[in-house]
C-alpha cells in the first residue's frame, strides 16, 4: 500500500505495465514502488512502479500525500528547468515586496471543512489517515493483542490459538484449496496490490462522482493495515509453507506473520465501509445477509488460501478485525457507541466460509469520540450515494 505516489506517471505505468510505465512511474511517482519501477525500468518497473505508484495513486485519490503534478504535466527535472528559464525570461526585476494582495487579511486560511475542500483528495486522505491512526492504540504481548481507543479502552482483542497444532490441522484446507489455483491465478495476482478495483466493479467507484467514497475506502484499507500490523507482530504464526513443503505457494510467501490475514482484514474493512455507504447498515447485517461486498471480501481472503499463503483461521480472524475496523470508522465519524467484541479463530478443522462466520459482537457499548475531520469527509462521501443512507444526522 503506497503512502506516497505519483499521479499521471504512475497511472500511466499502471496502465501500460511495461517499460514506459516503469520509467514514468519511477520518475514521476517518486515513491518506493515508483523508484523500483524506475530502477528496474522493465517489466518489474511496470508492475511495481505502475501498480504501486499509480494504481492507488493519482488514479483514485488515495492516501497519496503530496501530489507533484503540475497544471498540465507531471513533475520532472526538465519541467523545473524550463520553468526556471521561463521565469528568467519573463519576470523582470522584483524587489521582494508583496504584490499579489494589498492586505494580508485576504490570505487568511479557511476553516477546517473549507480547507479540506481546497486540498486535493490525496492530501485530504493523508489528513484523514493521520487522524484515524492517532485515534487508536495497542496493547499486547506474545500471543495476544488488543486494539484500544486512544484513551486506552478495549475495542477488540485477538489471541493466537494455544498450539501450532491448530494450524497444522488446517493444512488439509490448504491442500483442498490448492486445487483451485488454475481458476484463481488471475485474481490472486491482481489482488496482491489491488482490492479496490474489485469493489469498484460492484459499485461505481472512481475519483469522479464517488471521489470521497473512494477516499474513505482507501483510508479504511490504510487504517486496517495500521491495525493488523501490531496484531501480526504480537500474534505471530509461521506461514503454511513452514508446515509443509508441499504447499508450494504460487506467489511469494510474505515475510510477516500468517495470523491474522492482512488481506482479510483489509477486504472486510473495505466491505464494511462500502456496505454502510450503500445501505446504511453495519458489518453484522452485511455478513448475515451475504451482501455482495462481503462475498467479495470473502473471495479475496479465500484466494490467499488458494495461493498457499494463509490458513482459513487467519482469514476468519482477519475478517472479524476488518469488520471491527469498518464499524469503528463509522463510529468515529458519528461519535456513536461501538459494541466491543473479541475475535475467535474457530475450531482447528473449520474452513472459513461466510456462512459459518459472524461479525456480531457481544461486548459492551463503548463511547467513541467523534473525529471531526472524518465526520466532514464522511458526510461528503455519504452524499455520493442514492438516498444517502449513511448520511450523518
Amino acid at each position: 500500500m503506497p503512502i506516497h505516489g505519483g499521479n499521471a506517471g504512475g497511472n500511466a505505468g499502471g496502465n501500460a505495465g511495461g517499460n514506459a510505465g516503469g520509467n514514468a512511474g519511477g520518475n514521476a511517482g517518486g515513491n518506493a514502488g515508483g523508484n523500483a519501477g524506475g530502477n528496474a525500468g522493465g517489466n518489474a518497473g511496470g508492475n511495481a512502479g505502475g501498480n504501486a505508484g499509480g494504481n492507488a495513486g493519482g488514479n483514485a485519490g488515495s492516501i497519496t500525500a503530496f501530489s507533484r503534478d503540475h497544471a498540465d504535466s507531471p513533475a520532472s527535472s526538465f519541467l523545473s528547468n524550463t520553468l526556471l528559464t521561463t521565469r528568467d525570461g519573463v519576470t523582470g526585476f522584483w524587489d521582494g515586496s508583496m504584490t499579489a494582495v494589498s492586505d494580508v487579511a485576504g490570505l487568511a486560511m479557511p476553516k477546517d471543512d473549507e480547507y479540506l475542500g481546497q486540498v486535493k483528495t490525496p492530501y485530504q486522505a493523508l489528513i484523514l489517515d493521520t487522524f484515524l491512526r492517532s485515534s487508536v492504540r495497542f496493547d499486547g504481548a506474545d500471543g495476544w493483542c488488543e486494539l484500544q481507543t486512544s484513551a486506552g479502552l478495549a475495542i477488540t482483542r485477538l489471541e493466537r490459538p494455544k498450539s501450532l497444532d491448530f494450524f497444522a490441522k488446517q493444512l488439509d484446507w490448504l491442500r483442498a484449496y490448492a486445487d483451485l489455483r488454475e481458476d484463481r491465478l488471475g485474481e490472486i495476482h491482481m489482488q496482491l496490490d489491488d482490492m479496490l478495483s474489485f469493489f469498484g466493479s460492484q459499485v461505481y467507484l472512481d475519483n469522479g462522482r464517488r471521489a470521497y467514497s473512494l477516499m474513505l475506502l482507501n483510508a479504511a484499507r490504510s487504517f486496517a493495515i495500521h491495525v493488523e500490523t501490531p496484531m501480526k507482530y504480537f500474534c505471530r504464526v509461521p506461514r503454511p509453507v513452514d508446515f509443509a513443503m508441499q504447499v508450494q505457494p504460487i506467489i511469494q510467501t510474505p515475510d510477516h506473520s500468517s495470523f491474522p490475514s492482512g488481506h482479510a482484514t483489509e477486504a472486510f474493512a473495505i466491505a464494511t465501509v462500502l456496505h454502510r455507504l450503500s445501505s446504511g447498515q453495519g458489518a453484522a447485517h452485511g455478513v448475515e445477509n451475504m451482501a455482495l461486498p462481503f462475498r467479495l471480501a470473502h473471495r479475496i481472503a479465500a484466494n490467499r488460501t488458494v495461493a498457499g499463503v494463509h490458513f482459513p483461521a487467519d482469514s476468519r480472524v482477519g475478517a472479524y478485525i476488518g469488520c471491527v475496523v469498518g464499524d469503528l470508522i463509522y463510529a468515529l465519524a458519528t461519535g456513536t457507541d461501538l459494541v466491543t467484541g473479541n475475535a475467535n479463530a474457530g475450531a482447528s478443522g473449520d474452513d472459513f466460509l461466510l456462512s459459518n462466520f459472524s461479525a456480531e459482537r457481544d461486548g459492551t457499548a463503548l463511547a467513541v469520540a467523534k473525529l471531526d475531520v472524518l465526520s466532514a469527509l464522511w458526510s461528503r462521501a455519504a452524499s455520493e450515494w442514492p438516498g444517502a443512507p449513511a448520511a450523518l444526522v
Binding site: D172, W173, R175, A176, Y177, D179, L180, E182, D183, N289, M290, D351, L353, L354, S355, N356
Partner: protein
C-alpha cells in the same frame, strides 16, 4: 539396452477377476502407487443392475468382485448392494404429471442449485441425482455415493438460501458441500463445482436449462431431470479403465428411477394406456479406442438395458444422445489392410504384408499410454485364434531395433523388460477375443508405463518414438486398425497426462494455405472431398477418430458432431467416422451436427458456469450433444400423439430433420445472425445428414438467466 519379452502369463494368474485388460493393468500395475492415498481403494460390487447376467446373456466378467478401483472408501457401500426395487425409493420420489418428459444426464459437476434447473418458486426440476462418489449415505441399493431426490434437494436449497426461502440467494459453497456435489477435504473427491466452469452443468444447461420465467412455465412443468454425477476423474482411471462401470450403472439407474416415478405418478393420477415417460439420456462422454462396431461392453450393456426395459412392458421412448468426440486432430487412429496381396471391398487400402506405426510417447508423462490394435471380424472364435497365429507383432522402444513379441493367446499378456536390470517391465501386450454382432474380434492392447514418476518409483518407460508393427502374409488380407486410448490425468486440471500420438511422416498436419487440415475439404461451391487420401497420407487418419462408446447403431441412439454457428464450417476437433467397417451394428456416419462453436472469434458456446448465474464458454461435441438433446425434448413436448412420440428422437427422425434443414442452406435461408447461409457442403462422416441450428428455446443472451 537390450530388451526382452517375458513368457506370456494368464490374466487369471494374478488373482484379478476380470476380462477387461485395463482393469487388470490397473490392478497389477497402478494400484500399488495409489496405496499411499489413504482410504482410496475399494472393491467393486458387481454391476447393480437387475438381472445383470441375464440381460447380457453371457458370463463375461468386466468388473469382478475382487477388482479394486481408486474410489474413496468413504464413498463405497461396504456390503453387497441390495437389488433395485421401486418400493424402496417410492416414498422419496415426488409425483409429476403424466405428460412429463425426462432428461437423464450422466456427467460430472452437475450443479443442483442453479435457477435454470429450478421452477418459478425456486423448486428443483431434478427428480433425483445420484452423486456416485459422494460419501456413502447408507442407501442399501447403491454400490456407492448418495442419491438425493427432488424433495430432499428442495429442503437443502431452502436450508442454504437467504431468508430460508427457495427464491433467496443460495449459498452454493455450503449447499454444494451438503449435497455431496463437492468434497474438498477428500484428495480424490469431486471438485468440479468449486471451479469456474463445470462440464455437466454446462451440458445440462444446453440440454434442459430454462430461466425460471413464466414464459417457460410449460417446459418447467414438463421437462424434469434425472441426474447422475459420475465420480471425479481419479476414479475413472487415466485410460477410462472404470468409466464403463459407472456409466452403465448410471444409465440403468436413470431408467429405473424414471420408471419408478411413472409407477408412483401414474397410480396417483389414475393414468391408463401409456407406460412410462419419454426419456432422453444425454451422455456427453467418450473414449478413443475400442472395437468401434457397437460391441464395446458399454454399448452392449446399453442395448441390453433398452431391450430389458421393453421386456418389462415399458413402452415409452428412450433416446440416447452422445457426441462423436473431439479427437479429430489427435492423430490417434491408423488403418491398413494386412496381407500378401489384394484389397478389401471398395476400400482404398492396398494390402501390405507389414504395417508399421510410429508412436510418439512424450517425456514427463505421468500416466501410462495405451494403443489398441483391432482386426476385422472373423466368423468364428477359432478363426480369431488362427488369425492370431498368422500374425507377428513387433514393438520397438525408442532407439532400439524392432523385435517380435511372443505369441500371446486369449486373455494372456506378455511384459517387456530391460534385460540389464530385468526387474520390472515398462510395456505389456494383452490379447483378447470377444464376440460382436458380426462374429468375433481379435484385438491386442499395448500398454506403456509412464515416462516420468515424480515420486521416483521404478518402471518408467523411455520417452520417444516407439514403433508398433504388425506382419502377416495372409491371403485373403485382413483389415487392421490402431487406436490410441484416451489419456487423462487422475486429477482434473493436472498437466501430468501427456497424450501420445501416431507420428507418421505421411501425415499432413496443415494444408498448403497454413490452415489446419481436416478429414474433408470444406469450401464454398464444392462438394466435400477427402483431404487426407490414404495412399499419400495414410495410414494415420482422422476418419475413424470417432468416440468409441458411441459406435452402436440403434434407432434410439444419436451421435452428434459439431460445426461453427457463424459459417457452418465443421469444427476441426469434431471427430470423423470412417464410413463403417461393414459391420451390422457399427456406426457408419454421424447422425447430425449442432453448433459447438459460436464463431471464429467467439470461442465455444456460452452456457451456465459452475455458479448460479455465471456463464462460461466451453467448446466441443459435448456441447452440440446437449443442444441435440434439447431439440428432442422440445419435440417430445410439442408432440400431439403417441405415434409422434414413437418417432421423435430416433436417429431416423434426426437425420430427416437435419437433411431437410441442410437442403435449405444456400437457398436464401438466413441464420440467426441475419446472414444468408451460403455454407460449404459438409461431409456425412463429419456432420452427418446435416447441420441443425441452435434450438429455438435456447437462450439468446447471457443475461437471460
Amino acid at each position: 539396452m537390450t530388451w526382452s519379452w517375458q513368457t506370456p502369463r494368464k490374466m487369471d494368474d494374478d488373482g484379478v477377476e476380470t476380462e477387461n485388460p485395463y482393469v487388470h493393468w490397473w490392478n497389477t500395475r497402478e494400484k500399488s502407487d495409489r496405496e499411499s492415498l489413504e482410504n482410496s481403494l475399494v472393491r467393486l460390487n458387481s454391476l447393480p443392475i437387475p438381472k445383470y447376467n441375464e440381460i447380457l446373456d453371457d458370463t463375461e466378467t468386466q468388473f469382478g468382485g475382487t477388482d479394486q478401483i481408486p474410489l474413496s472408501k468413504s464413498s463405497a457401500n461396504p456390503d453387497m448392494h441390495d437389488d433395485w426395487a421401486a418400493e424402496t425409493i417410492s416414498d422419496r420420489l415426488p409425483c409429476v404429471d403424466d405428460d412429463t418428459i425426462i432428461l437423464g444426464i450422466v456427467d460430472t459437476g452437475i450443479a443442483l442449485g442453479h435457477r435454470r434447473f429450478r421452477g418459478l418458486k425456486g423448486e428443483t426440476r431434478v427428480i433425483s441425482s445420484w452423486q456416485q462418489d459422494a460419501r456413502f449415505a447408507e442407501q442399501a441399493d447403491l454400490p456407492c455415493g448418495e442419491e438425493l431426490f427432488g424433495p430432499e434437494i428442495d429442503d437443502l436449497i431452502v436450508a442454504h438460501s437467504q431468508r430460508g426461502a427457495a427464491t433467496g440467494d443460495l449459498d452454493e459453497e455450503t449447499f454444494n458441500r451438503a449435497a455431496g456435489l463437492v468434497d474438498p477435504l477428500n484428495p480424490i473427491g469431486q471438485r468440479d463445482l468449486d471451479r469456474a466452469g463445470a462440464h455437466g452443468t454446462h451440458v445440462l444447461d444446453l440440454a434442459a436449462g430454462f430461466a425460471p420465467d413464466p414464459e417457460n412455465a410449460e417446459a418447467i412443468r414438463r421437462q424434469k431431470i434425472i441426474a447422475v454425477n459420475l465420480p471425479a476423474q481419479h476414479a475413472h482411471g487415466t485410460a477410462g479403465n472404470f468409466l464403463a462401470y459407472f456409466a452403465v450403472t448410471a444409465v440403468a439407474r436413470i431408467l429405473f428411477v424414471a420408471d419408478a416415478l411413472w409407477g408412483k405418478s401414474s397410480a396417483k393420477n389414475g393414468s391408463q394406456g401409456k407406460a412410462g415417460f419419454p426419456i432422453v439420456i444425454n451422455f456427453s462422454y467418450g473414449m478413443q479406442a475400442g472395437p468401434k462396431d457397437g460391441s464395446l461392453f458399454f454399448e452392449r450393456m446399453i442395448r441390453a438395458l433398452l431391450r430389458h426395459r421393453e421386456k418389462l412392458g415399458m413402452t415409452s421412448p428412450v433416446r440416447i444422445v452422445m457426441p462423436v468426440g473431439n479427437d479429430n486432430l489427435e492423430r490417434g487412429h491408423a488403418k491398413a489392410v494386412l496381407g500378401q496381396k489384394g484389397a478389401i471391398g471398395s476400400w482404398p487400402y492396398p494390402a501390405q504384408p507389414r504395417v508399421e506405426i510410429p508412436w510418439r510417447i512424450l517425456p514427463a508423462d505421468g500416466t501410462a499410454n495405451f494403443t489398441e490394435i483391432w482386426f476385422e471380424a472373423q466368423a468364428t472364435k477359432e478363426d480369431c485364434v488362427a488369425l492370431a497365429q498368422d500374425l507377428q507383432i513387433h514393438i520397438a522402444p525408442p532407439r532400439s531395433p524392432s523385435f517380435p513379441v511372443p505369441k500371446v493367446s486369449e486373455q494372456q499378456y506378455s511384459d517387456l523388460i530391460p534385460s540389464a536390470t530385468a526387474s520390472e517391465s515398462v510395456a505389456r501386450v494383452y490379447s483378447r477375443i470377444q464376440p460382436g454382432d458380426d462374429g468375433w474380434r481379435l484385438s491386442f492392447l499395448v500398454c506403456v508405463s509412464p515416462t516420468q514418476d515424480p515420486e521416483g518409483r521404478g518402471r518408467q518407460a523411455p520417452a520417444g518414438l516407439w514403433t508398433l508393427a504388425v506382419e502377416a502374409h495372409r491371403d485373403p488380407p485382413v483389415a487392421v486398425s490402431f487406436y490410441i486410448q484416451s489419456d487423462q490425468s487422475s486429477v482434473r486440471g493436472s498437466k501430468q497426462a501427456q497424450r501420445s500420438y501416431f507420428d507418421h511422416s505421411n501425415y499432413k498436419v496443415h494444408l498448403e494455405t497454413g490452415r489446419k487440415r481436416d478429414a474433408f475439404h470444406y469450401e464454398l461451391g464444392h462438394f466435400a472431398k477427402v483431404e487426407e487420401p490414404w495412399e499419400e497420407q495414410g495410414p494415420v487418419q482422422r476418419r475413424g477418430s470417432h468416440n468409441a462408446v458411441a459406435t452402436l447403431s440403434l434407432p434410439e441412439i444419436c451421435c452428434i458432431g459439431s460445426y461453427r454457428d457463424s459459417d457452418g464450417r465443421p469444427t476441426l476437433y469434431s471427430a470423423a467416422t470412417d464410413g463403417g467397417t461393414g459391420s451390422t451394428s457399427g456406426r457408419a456416419m454421424v447422425s447430425a451436427a449442432y453448433p459447438g462453436e459460436t464463431a471464429g472469434s467467439l470461442y465455444g458456446l456460452l452456457a451456465s458456469g459452475a455458479r448460479d448465474g455465471s456463464v462460461k464458454a466451453f467448446r466441443g461435441t459435448s456441447m452440440s450433444t446437449g443442444l441435440a438433446s434439447r431439440d428432442i425434448l422440445q419435440a417430445f413436448q410439442d408432440a400431439s400423439s403417441d405415434a409422434d412420440l414413437a418417432a421423435i428422437g430416433t436417429e431416423t427422425w434426426l437425420i430427416n430433420r437435419a437433411a431437410a434443414h441442410e437442403r435449405k442452406i444456400g437457398k436464401g435461408l438466413l441464420d440467426r445472425w441475419g446472414q444468408d447461409m451460403t455454407w460449404g457442403v459438409g461431409a456425412p462422416q463429419k456432420t452427418g445428414a446435416g447441420r441443425l441450428p441452435m434450438p429455438t428455446s435456447w437462450r439468446r443472451s447471457r443475461i437471460d438467466r
